[in-house]
Symmetry: C2
Subunit: 327 residues, 2 copies
DNA sequence: TTGAAAGCGCTAACAT
DNA sequence: ATGTTAGCGCTTTCAA
């Protein structure tokens, strides 16, 4: 078995209390004993048990991160930023993957609570939508990422989706486009209604956008783009980059060139967006900031700040090759 | 504070032992007491402390997963499969993101050991390369994913990289290509030498491949492809899909059409590969199997199986639109 | 500066 | 079928 503090104490001829103090530096000690203890600890390869410490201190120094689906290219950046931020402060991160299944997410939540994580970051719309009440009664701090529910009573950070698609639409309008379409996502997606509204905002005084529905992924984007083409649009704002990449294909197969015949804008700025052909004009949201802020907010909550503040991140239009003047 | 087992015991007028037995179903109880205890537990919103249980049982039911970089599109699938497999068996997963930094990974390892995870899955070449010794002395089971080190003495699962690029190369040869190039990755990458060798294997008796170096990512692929074009190749085997996607761009910018002028093959079959233009012919490795097997292997080790077995996954050539007959 | 001892919340003998 | 008790490995009073 692994060495315990008692082993170290025995080996160095002091009490466990002294070992604890010396190893944690929580109290001064005579240099001589210090050295003996440290030597003994090293010789035994002693590593304090986080479990025992957690029981005593009543904190695990571990956070939970609930994510809808790591496989969606939007999330890894959030996860990474969260992990880095947590690790910087000495916290571990338990990852809970929702698989887009609300029941499963609830089970995960129980798992996290039972594991006594010190706080939870939820980056899952399904979660906040179906289990808002449950989230609010959790004993530890919960922070939401990309939460559409304004009245959740929990701290949250979100990109301004509506502003984002408005920016995108205005860009299209500025390029001379007048018939503009939007490929939306199912309502299950966090931001679908906000992003839809932004397109309407952007066309105010100009006309009404043609609304079609995708599936939030590549396949849906391809089908929807063909539909928009038949409707005669010259500009498309897609729900996200995945949808836009699908649209790129759908357009290509229908014989339309981008951007000569149709201009196309995505959302998120996933890494791939810069590498499509043509490179995708898109609305960037700072995913790293999302993850980092959420973790830091949890930590602040742990330090006593129990406010339910919400931060709205300003998205940025990244103009690349998929948009151009109406021909 | 959260309710403890003592609270439940007091409220239902039994001992903590009885509560423990009933809630865990580890021993029969009179239906009447059963009901009282369960009711009390529910009323108090009691959730057993995993920390206390872990201390007593000497198992945390938590696994560690060390990953080089979640942001690399190859990993999320592994992570997801691992998480799902773990969760199915009631295990949680602590994610440790290496950020491609060996020192950082070592720190992560300590964190995991201190947290007393029951086992560790390492999906990081940097890790196995620099810290093989440290890994071997860890008290809990360690399983390697995509490990290049045959002599590590630890169970491991890896795709047969060499076979994969051989398959790819043979496909090119079968299509009539004779001048074939390979865009390799820096040696820091797990599989670079294996994949390089596979290309040589595939050209045995035909010639020698032109070897150039990428960076394992999109940018490097673009530059390297241009180089290969100048060398007059008509077929390219890329280290991975990211590299191939870069090559696609590099080729396009240099005025070469794929597959009419140059055939191109990737590796991994990341989700994006199906959606490039043209869709990428690639070598698929079953990333989900990698993650799932690793977790299951750790669990088996926990059940007593301490063998250092290695499994080699057979990759599969997925023929899409980026390869065609030499024109 | 150091030690003795209690206790964090649970489970598992061992009793009854 | 249920209760008593010890103890998992730490930290932290309280004493000395």
């Amino acid at each position: 078995m692994t060495a315990t503090i008692a082993d170290v104490a025995a080996r160095s001829g002091v009490s466990t209390a002294t070992v604890s103090r010396i190893l944690s530096g929580s109290a001064p000690a005579r240099p001589e004993t210090r050295d003996r203890v440290i030597a003994a600890a090293r010789e035994l390869g002693y590593q304090p048990s986080g479990v025992a410490r957690a029981l005593k201190r009543r904190e695990t120094r571990t956070l939970g991160l609930v994510v809808t689906d790591v496989t969606n290219p939007f999330y890894p950046q959030v996860v990474r930023a969260a992990e880095v931020a947590a690790h910087e402060r000495g916290y571990g991160l338990i990852l809970a993957n929702g698989e887009d299944d609300p029941a499963r997410e609830l089970a995960h939540l129980d798992l996290l609570v039972e594991r006594r994580v010190d706080g939870i970051v939820v980056a899952s719309s399904a979660m906040t939508r179906h289990h808002a009440a449950r989230l609010r009664e959790i004993a530890v701090p919960v922070v939401l990422v990309n939460d559409p529910i304004t009245g959740s009573g929990l701290p949250a950070i979100t990109a301004d989706h509506r502003l984002g698609t408005r920016l995108a639409t205005s860009h299209l309008v500025a390029l001379g486009h007048r018939r503009i379409g939007h490929i939306g996502a199912p309502d299950a997606h966090v931001a679908s209604s906000q992003r839809r509204r932004g397109v309407v905002d952007g066309m105010r005084g100009i006309g009404t956008p043609v609304m079609v529905q995708g599936d939030g992924g590549v396949a849906g984007g391809a089908a929807a783009a063909a539909e928009l083409l038949r409707a005669g649009v010259t500009g498309i704002v897609a729900y996200n980059d995945l949808t836009a990449i699908g649209a790129l294909r759908g357009l290509g197969e229908a014989g339309a060139r981008v951007p000569e015949d149709v201009s196309l804008i995505g959302f998120d700025d996933i890494p791939m967006a810069a590498w499509t052909d043509p490179p995708l004009t898109t609305v960037r949201q700072d995913t790293a900031a999302l993850g980092r802020w959420a973790v830091e907010r949890v930590l602040r909550a742990l330090a006593g700040d129990r406010e339910a503040d919400r931060v709205l991140l300003v998205p940025e239009l990244v103009i690349r090759g998929s948009t151009g003047p109406r021909s």
